[in-house]
C-alpha cells in the first residue's frame, strides 16, 4: 500500500498496478501538490474536461508522478467561471498546460502568473472554447482569422541586445515552431518558444469515435511515438472496460515499443552527427535505421509499425522466420552501433561540440520537471519500465540509462545505452514470447467508464486518459506527450550558449511539435 496518508484516499486503478486514482476538492489541490513535491515527485500532466452532460460541472485532472507510481487526481470545479488553484508556482511545467486548458475549456488557474493564450492562435474567437461539448467544431474550421494582436514575448532590454526571430517556417522540412532569441552578438541571453502551430483539434476529433478508430487516431498524435501512444490508449481503454489482454499480445506490444525506441534513437544519433557537419555519422546511422525500418515493413507491413495495436490485443504476429531475422538484425546492429560509438567517442571535433553544450543541471531539471530521456541525461532517474513495470517489463529486468552532466553529450550517451538495452530486450522478448491468442474482445462496460494508460515511450512517459460513454463511444480522450514539460527546458539549456549551437541542443532533445500542440 502507498505510504501516503490515508486521507489522500488513493484507490488503485487496477489491482497490483501503479496507477492510483484520487478525487480531490479543488481547494486541496495545492496541498496535495506540495506533498508530492516534498516527496520528490513531479507533475506529469494537467488537463480539463467538460462534464456538464454527465450532470456535473467542469473538471480538472492532474497526473502526478510519485514513489508509488502515477496518481491521477480529478477535481470538480464550481460555478460559471470555473477555476482551480494555480499549480505552476509549485510545478512550473504546469504553466503551459494550464494555459492550454483555458484556451480549450475556459477553466482558469486562479492567480496564474501567465495569462497569455497558448494554443489559441486567433483561429477561434477569445470567448469560444472548442473542447466544450456545446462548441460547433465544424463552424470554427470554416473561418480562420488572421492574428491581429502580436504575441507578447518577454523582451530583454539593454545596450546591444537584439532579437532574432526564427520560424515558424524553417529552411528545412521540419515542424513549425517559433523561437525568439534575445542575443548579444552570438551569445543567447534568452530564448522564448511559441508553439501551437500544429493544433489540429485532435482531442475534439476523438469525441464520438468508436474504440478501434480511437486507437488509430491516438497513434497519430505524434507519429514518431506511434506505438507509445497507441499502447497507452489501449491500456486506458482496457482498464476502463476491464478487458484482459492475452499474454502474447502484451509481449508483442513491448516488442513494437522497443523497436520504435531503437528506430528513433538511431535516427537521432545520426542527426546529432549531421548537426556538427559529421555527415559520415549521419549516413551510417541512417543506413542502420533504414535496414531496421525495411525489416519492420517486411515483417509487419509498416516501416513505422503503424496500426499494429488495437484495444484488446494486437493486429499482427511474428513467425519463427521473422523472429530469426529480427534477432540477426539486432545482433548486427548492436555490433555496428558499438563501432560507431567508438568513432563518436574518439572524434575530438564532435566531442568538443557535444560536451558542455546545452547543459541542464540536475537541480534545474528536478525543479522544472525534465522528464524521460532528457531527464535521465540530467540525473532524473525515472523510467516507468524500471520502477513501475507493467507486463511484460515486470519479467524483463530493464536497466536504466543515467547520466549526470545534462549536456548534449549526456543525451547522446543515454541514447547509445538505451539502443543497446532495447536491442537486448528485443532479443529477450523474442526468445520468451509466450504462445497464445493475439486478441481478446473488449466488452462494453455498463455506463460511463474511465481509464488511464501510462507507457514509457522513447521520448519519455506517454499518458492517455480515456472516458467512454454509455454507448461505448469515446467521450473524452487526453493524450499527453512528454514534450509538454521538456520544451521549457530547451529554453533553459541554451542559456549562455551561442546561437549556432541552438540546432544541436534542440536536436539533442528532439521534442515533438504535434504531440503537445494536439
Amino acid at each position: 500500500m502507498p505510504k501516503h496518508p490515508d486521507d489522500l484516499a488513493l484507490t488503485p486503478q487496477t489491482e497490483g498496478g501503479f496507477v492510483w486514482r484520487s478525487r480531490l476538492e479543488p481547494g486541496r489541490l495545492t496541498a496535495f501538490a506540495r506533498i508530492i513535491q516534498d516527496e520528490g515527485g513531479q507533475l506529469l500532466a494537467l488537463w480539463g474536461a467538460d462534464d456538464r452532460h454527465l450532470g456535473r460541472n467542469f473538471t480538472v485532472h492532474v497526473a502526478f508522478l510519485s514513489s508509488v507510481g502515477l496518481i491521477w487526481t480529478t477535481s470538480e470545479l464550481d460555478g460559471d467561471q470555473p477555476a482551480y488553484p494555480d499549480l505552476a508556482h509549485i510545478f512550473p511545467q504546469a504553466d503551459r498546460m494550464q494555459r492550454a486548458a483555458f484556451d480549450l475549456l475556459g477553466i482558469r488557474a486562479q492567480d496564474g502568473v501567465d495569462g497569455r493564450a497558448w494554443l489559441r492562435h486567433a483561429a477561434w474567437v477569445e470567448d469560444a472554447f472548442p473542447l466544450r461539448k456545446d462548441f460547433p467544431a465544424r463552424a470554427a474550421c470554416r473561418s480562420p482569422r488572421p492574428e491581429t494582436e502580436p504575441y507578447p514575448f518577454i523582451r530583454v532590454e539593454g545596450e546591444g541586445v537584439h532579437e532574432i526571430a526564427v520560424g515558424p517556417i524553417h529552411a528545412a522540412t521540419i515542424e513549425p515552431g517559433h523561437f525568439r532569441f534575445s542575443v548579444i552578438g552570438d551569445r543567447i541571453l534568452r530564448l522564448e518558444e511559441r508553439l501551437g502551430y500544429t493544433h489540429k483539434g485532435t482531442e475534439k476529433r476523438f469525441e464520438g469515435l468508436d474504440l478501434a478508430t480511437g486507437a488509430k487516431l491516438a497513434g497519430r498524435v505524434s507519429g514518431d511515438s506511434h506505438t507509445a501512444f497507441a499502447w497507452a490508449y489501449c491500456m486506458a481503454v482496457e482498464t476502463a472496460t476491464a478487458c484482459s489482454v492475452p499474454d502474447r499480445a502484451i509481449w508483442l506490444r513491448a516488442l513494437f515499443l522497443e523497436m520504435e525506441r531503437v528506430a528513433n534513437h538511431l535516427g537521432d544519433l545520426g542527426f546529432l552527427g549531421n548537426d556538427v557537419a559529421l555527415t559520415f555519422g549521419f549516413v551510417q546511422f541512417w543506413r542502420l535505421k533504414e535496414d531496421w525500418m525495411r525489416l519492420s515493413a517486411r515483417l509487419f507491413g509498416h516501416r513505422y509499425l503503424f496500426d499494429m495495436l488495437l484495444p484488446g490485443g494486437v493486429a499482427t504476429d511474428i513467425d519463427a522466420r521473422g523472429k530469426a531475422d529480427l534477432d540477426a538484425l539486432c545482433k548486427r546492429i548492436a555490433g555496428e552501433v558499438q563501432t560507431l560509438r567508438h568513432i563518436y567517442d574518439e572524434h575530438t571535433g564532435l566531442q568538443d561540440r557535444f560536451a558542455n553544450t546545452g547543459i541542464v543541471a540536475p537541480d534545474m531539471a528536478a525543479r522544472l520537471g525534465l522528464t524521460g530521456l532528457a531527464g535521465r541525461a540530467s540525473s532524473q532517474a525515472w523510467d516507468a519500465r524500471v520502477q513501475f513495470p507493467c507486463a511484460p517489463y515486470d519479467r524483463l529486468d530493464v536497466n536504466m540509462a543515467l547520466q549526470k552532466s545534462g549536456d548534449v553529450l549526456a543525451r547522446a550517451e543515454v541514447r547509445f545505452t538505451e539502443v543497446f538495452e532495447s536491442l537486448r530486450l528485443i532479443r529477450l522478448l523474442l526468445e520468451q514470447l509466450p504462445a497464445g491468442a493475439l486478441h481478446a474482445p473488449c466488452t462494453q462496460a455498463a455506463g460511463v467508464c474511465e481509464g488511464l494508460g501510462w507507457v514509457e515511450g522513447w521520448r519519455g512517459p506517454v499518458i492517455v486518459a480515456v472516458r467512454i460513454d454509455a454507448d461505448g463511444r469515446l467521450d473524452r480522450v487526453h493524450p499527453h506527450d512528454p514534450s509538454w514539460q521538456n520544451w521549457p527546458l530547451v529554453e533553459v539549456g541554451v542559456l549562455g550558449n551561442i546561437v549556432p549551437d541552438f540546432p544541436l541542443i534542440n536536436k539533442s532533445f528532439n521534442l515533438s511539435y504535434s504531440g503537445p500542440d494536439l
Binding site: I164, G273, V276, A277, T279, I498, P500
Partner: protein, 314 residues
C-alpha cells in the same frame, strides 16, 4: 601579343567553365567517402541551368544594390580567376594586378555580398554578414602573410614571377613554403565556407555563415552567386597550385607546352578536390567561436613561414 590575348581569353573561359566541374567533383568525392550514391559530375551545371530558367523573387524592400550585387560578385571572381596563371604563365592581363590587388578583389566581392545580405533586413542576412566579417578579417591578414612569404623568395609580388621562380628556374627546396602551404590550405577552407569552419550543405539557418547571406536570393541572382562560389573555390585552388606546385604551367610563349599544362592542371585539381573532400569527411564543424583559433593558427603558420625564410633561405 595576339597569341597572348587569345591565350588570356581561353584561360579565363576555362576557369569560368571548369569551376562548376571542380565543385561537382568535390561533391562526388564527398558522397563516395560518406557511403552515399554520388550525384553526377555535371550536377552543378544542371543546377545553374535550372536556376537561370526560373523567375527571380525579390523582397519588396530590396534596394538596387541587392539586384546588382550578384553581377559585381561574379565579375570580381572572373577577374580574380583571370589573374592567376592556370595553364600559361605571364599572360598580358597579369601585370594588371599583383597578389595584394588580388586580395583586394576578393575583398570587394565579399563587401558586396555582405551589403546585399544586410540590404533586405532579415535577421539571418545580418547574422551571416556579421559572421562572414569575423572570419574574413582574420583570414585576410593570414592570406597576405602567405603571399609575402612566396614573394620574398621570388622578390616580387607578381604572380608570373612567383610561378617562374619555382617552376622554371633551377630547383630549390624552400622550407618556408611548407608552412605557407599549410596556412594557405586552412585559409582556403575558411574563405570558401567549407568544413570545419562552415558547412556548405547545411539547412540549419542558425548555424550558417555563407549560406545565411544568400538565403533571400533566387533564380539568376542565385545562379550567379553559386557560380561565383564555384569560381572562388577554383581560383583558390589554382592559386595554391601556382604558389606551391606550379610545375607544368607553360612558360611565356610556349604554345606547344599547353596540352601538357592543361592535363597537369586537371590532375592537380582532381587530387586537390579529393583531398578537400577527404578532410571534410573526417572533420566536424568547429564551434563558431573556435573559428578565430583556427584562423589564428593559420596566421601563426604563415608568420613562421616568413621567419623560416629569413633563418634558412637568405
Amino acid at each position: 601579343m595576339v597569341t597572348g590575348i587569345l591565350l588570356q581569353i581561353v584561360q579565363t573561359l576555362i576557369a569560368i567553365l571548369l569551376a562548376p566541374l571542380l565543385m561537382g567533383w568535390v561533391n562526388q568525392c564527398r558522397a563516395w567517402l560518406q557511403g552515399r550514391t554520388a550525384p553526377p559530375l555535371t550536377q552543378p551545371y544542371r543546377t545553374l541551368r535550372k536556376l537561370f530558367h526560373k523567375d527571380a523573387v525579390i523582397a519588396g524592400n530590396a534596394s538596387p544594390l541587392f539586384r546588382f550585387a550578384p553581377y559585381v560578385i561574379f565579375s570580381c571572381m572572373v577577374l580574380a580567376a583571370g589573374l592567376v596563371p592556370t595553364i600559361a604563365n605571364d599572360l598580358p592581363f597579369s601585370p594588371a594586378a599583383d597578389v595584394i590587388a588580388l586580395v583586394g578583389i576578393l575583398a570587394l566581392a565579399r563587401v558586396f555580398l555582405a551589403l546585399a545580405a544586410m540590404d533586405i533586413g532579415t535577421s539571418f542576412g545580418t547574422l551571416g554578414a556579421r559572421r562572414e566579417m569575423l572570419v574574413s578579417f582574420l583570414a585576410e591578414p593570414a592570406l597576405l602573410m602567405v603571399f609575402f612569404t612566396a614573394s620574398l623568395i621570388s622578390q616580387s609580388t607578381e604572380l608570373p614571377h612567383i610561378v617562374e621562380t619555382l617552376a622554371q628556374k633551377e630547383f630549390a627546396i624552400y622550407p618556408s613554403l611548407a608552412f605557407a602551404a599549410v596556412a594557405f590550405w586552412m585559409i582556403s577552407v575558411a574563405e570558401n565556407a567549407r568544413i570545419p569552419v562552415d558547412n556548405p550543405t547545411t539547412h540549419l539557418e542558425l548555424t550558417m555563415i555563407h549560406e545565411a547571406m544568400v538565403l533571400e536570393y533566387s533564380a539568376r541572382h542565385l545562379a550567379l552567386i553559386e557560380w561565383a562560389v564555384a569560381l572562388k573555390l577554383f581560383t583558390y585552388s589554382v592559386l595554391g597550385i601556382a604558389l606551391f606546385l606550379p610545375w607544368g604551367i607553360a612558360p611565356r610563349g610556349d604554345v606547344a607546352a599547353l596540352p601538357l599544362a592543361l592535363a597537369a592542371m586537371v590532375a592537380k585539381l582532381a587530387a586537390g578536390g579529393a583531398a578537400l573532400s577527404f578532410m571534410e569527411t573526417i572533420s566536424a564543424k568547429v564551434r563558431l567561436f573556435r573559428a578565430p583559433e583556427f584562423l589564428g593558427t593559420a596566421f601563426l603558420l604563415a608568420v613562421l613561414g616568413m621567419l623560416t625564410h629569413f633563418l634558412l633561405e637568405v
